[in-house]
Amino acid sequence: MAATPKRSPNRARPGRTLALFLAAIVALYGLVALIGVTADKGDDSPWHPKLGLDLEGGTRITFQAKAESGGVTTEKLDQARSIIDQRVNASGVAEAEVTTQGGDQIIVEIPGEKRANIVDEVGKTAQLRFRLVWTGNLASAAAPVDTAADQKVVNDLDWSKLSLDQVIAAETTGLPSLPPEYQAGVASLQKVAAGFTCNPDGLEVEDVAAKPLVTCDPATGEVQILSPTVIEGTDVSSADAVIPQGQVSWVVALELKGQGKKAFSTITDALFNQLNAGNDQASRFAVVLDGEVLTAPTTNGHFTDGKSQISGNFTATTSKALANQLKYGALPLTFSVNGSEEIGPSLAGSQLNAGLIAGVIGLVLVVIYCLLYYRGLGLVIIGSLLVASALTYVMVLLLGKGVGFTLTLPGIAGLIVAIGITADSFIVFFERIRDEVRDGKSLRLAVEAGWVRARGTILAADAVSIIAALTLFIFAIGVVRGFAFALGLTTLIDVFVVFFFTKPLVSVLARTKFFGQGHKLSGLDASHLGISGRKISEIARTSPAGTAGKAN
């Protein structure tokens, strides 16, 4: 670079702008280094961009949410997202990422693994149900026992014929009170329960509303035989974590509506009597989410208005979590599979390589062209492109950490396409400078005058590019958004680089002898510009117009 410029009479101090801008980039890299130092050992290195699944390999499943009533709201979708997140983790997949997209989609991304087969398990509609605890306090079996035959016996019976009173009586007076045709089923249920292992990392139970259920509370490991569903989760009208007046511990205030309210009154009437009789176990009912017992409290009141409180050893966090599960557990959202992708590591690797190769080739071609055409000024373009690349890379790193921006194949394509758009800003600027030089200005003046004219054009053109990127980002689906993001990011970077690097650099260079006096290789020499001294007007007068490209 040129020697430090002397205090110029102009207010602008290009040298300082340049130094500040470069310092800012170095500071950004410093920030990345800082993240690297403070990061836990388990985290990925901050120096590698976060790669998308198409470049790393893995599984992506897209669920489309549909509301049965009331539309898909952000609140509902967020709740569904966390439920799906729990299910994915429960299915034994580590490091899965579950995100929402476009207001009605949920994306599950599992890096490095081909696990599209979890789609049915994960995407099923969340089911919250209230059941009675027919038999509780059973121990989990040490090893799983194959109870498929017994399960079949249970499934083959039509339990829906039982009345609510019969179901309640089975708890309050014991299972033998059930009609004789169900006794074989009861025996089978007990066998299933005896062979049941309570595995917190994914229960394998089939939760069918009208059938009894053997399952457990993963938090306590307690295995239970539960009655057919007595209240559907859709009958929950509200659930909130509160500390009742005059008390000190958290409870979950639950309110039921419709059928559930009536059934709850009947049930609590019968169960509360059991509690009063000192028969605690026969007064329990269970809240089951997706076949997993959330809580199985005893009944200490007869609730006729549907309002009740679930108490226990709740903290603020656990009571809120339970309240949310009760409220949204039976989300009126159903999911259909919009698509699922499994990308193997070698396909991902070759896509990454192809993207990088294309990027390098593209960059090299542009650099060669600029050098050939702009000679010395071409070096400025190369410098600017390098600075833009450095800035882009650090932004990709920081955005990856900050907002979870992942680099996908379309994203890389966006970055490559942006090389051309970035180079164009320099070209517009340089052509303007050359126009001014042709008008007879000295280079120093030409740079400033050309910049004023080029500035507006560059900003207008980049604004169009950013509008396009924004529109694409908002309206594109899936990985295509990575392209729009990359395009928008690089266009913004382009503006910064042109204003704070290229322009000051050219101003500084214009003061050097090499450029200022139009050295043969500077790209600004008279013959290169097509001006032979001042003889131009004479030539112009004598040469007939229309002889395109006739060199002097």
Partner: protein, 366 residues
């Protein structure tokens, strides 16, 4: 390269001038012909929609060598999976060691079965992409919404920036021109239309207008205060603007097309199929058409619309009158612009030193 610069100098001064604006009928006809051909190609051949739009499952199997033999193995693998719905798959080799197999819609379980069966049949790695029947429609709907929003925003932006609705109209016409041509070439190429293609098309929206904005900016500069000048008509100044930005247009196109060409070649050559190739083809054609249309369509159209204004017609008449007085019967027609003598140096005269006495010179433009 020096020659291009010299050429640039000549263009800038108006010594060499291509008549982009005056011969607009010719350029319009050329474009109309290309657009009609593209539309025909589109109608006759149609788009070859990818699995993303049709719904179904696409398996990408990595094999040691992709040839007809290993492709047959893969077909057999699909048959052996016992999944009836996967019958009659489309199989094609892609790149050196990749085979793509497309089937109709399958459930996830069925897809997993086929995937496992393909691995048994000799594939070293099977990737699968299962697309629900609504996905393609969503992409198309979203893209269409995006298109409409973009057009509205951009019409307002150009109008606000240039304070000239005619430039908005011309920009949009040029854009439509680029999109139709790109769609036509895409149909002709037989490349699959995937979401990446749609991205490419939407990107062209931005690029094509980006290019047009750069040219329009020069047009605006050259025609500023034209009503109070009697030396040049709007059309002549607009034409000068296109010529002055021609070198920039050429350079920009080359620097923009080089990386896209790299994407296209690498995407088609190394990967065989995939988003890179789909995106790059749409971009390549669209960018080339975008440069063409900003020069040959957008600017002549602005000029044509502008000339219809009464004040511009009056100004043009004054210019004519003055010319016929000075030069003895000089008519401004499409052909005359190109053959007119040096005198027509336009806005460049602004600060250009010249040894000609003032009396022999045209009173320089702005």
């Amino acid at each position: 390269m020096g020659r291009i610069s010299t050429f640039g100098q000549h263009l800038y001064e108006g010594r060499v001038s291509f008549d982009f604006v005056g011969r607009r009928k010719l350029w319009y006809s050329v474009s109309a012909l290309i657009v009609v051909l593209a539309a025909l190609a589109f109608i006759v051949r149609g788009f070859n929609y990818g699995v993303e739009f049709k719904g179904g499952v696409e398996f990408t199997a990595q094999v040691k060598v992709a040839n007809s033999e290993s492709a047959d193995d893969m077909i057999k693998g699909v048959e052996d999976s016992g999944v009836a719905e996967a019958g009659d798959p489309t199989v094609q080799t892609s790149g050196e060691n990749t085979i793509r197999i497309q089937t109709r819609a399958l459930t996830q379980d069925q897809a997993t079965k086929v995937s496992q069966s393909l691995e048994k049949a000799g594939a070293t790695e099977v990737s699968q992409n299962l697309i629900g029947p609504t996905y393609g429609k969503q992409v198309a709907t979203k893209a269409l919404t995006g298109l409409i929003v973009f057009l509205v925003v951009i019409v307002i932006f150009i109008w606000a920036y240039f304070r000239e609705w005619r430039m908005s109209v011309a920009g949009i016409v040029a854009l439509a021109h680029d999109l139709v041509i790109t769609a036509g070439v895409y149909a002709l190429s037989g490349f699959e239309v995937t979401p990446a293609t749609v991205t490419g098309l939407l990107t062209i929206l931005g690029y094509s207008l980006y290019d047009t904005v750069v040219v329009f900016d020069k047009v605006r500069e050259n025609t500023r205060g034209i009503l109070s000048s009697n030396s040049k008509t709007y059309a002549e100044q607009a034409n000068l603007a296109v010529n002055q930005t021609l070198v920039r247009s050429i350079n920009t196109s080359i620097t923009a097309l080089l990386p896209v060409a790299a994407l296209l070649v690498v995407g088609a050559g190394v990967l065989g199929t995939g988003p890179l190739k789909d995106l790059a083809l749409a971009l390549f054609v669209g960018m080339a058409a975008g440069t063409y249309s900003s020069i040959f369509i957008a600017t002549p159209l602005v000029s044509q619309l502008k000339e219809r204004e009464p004040s511009m017609m009056a100004q043009a008449a004054r210019v004519m009158a003055r010319r016929s007085k000075e030069d003895g019967g000089f008519t401004v027609g499409s052909a005359s612009v190109a053959s007119r003598p040096v005198q027509a140096s336009g806005a460049a005269k602004r600060v250009q030193p010249s040894r000609k006495p003032r009396s022999q010179r045209g009173k320089g433009g702005s």
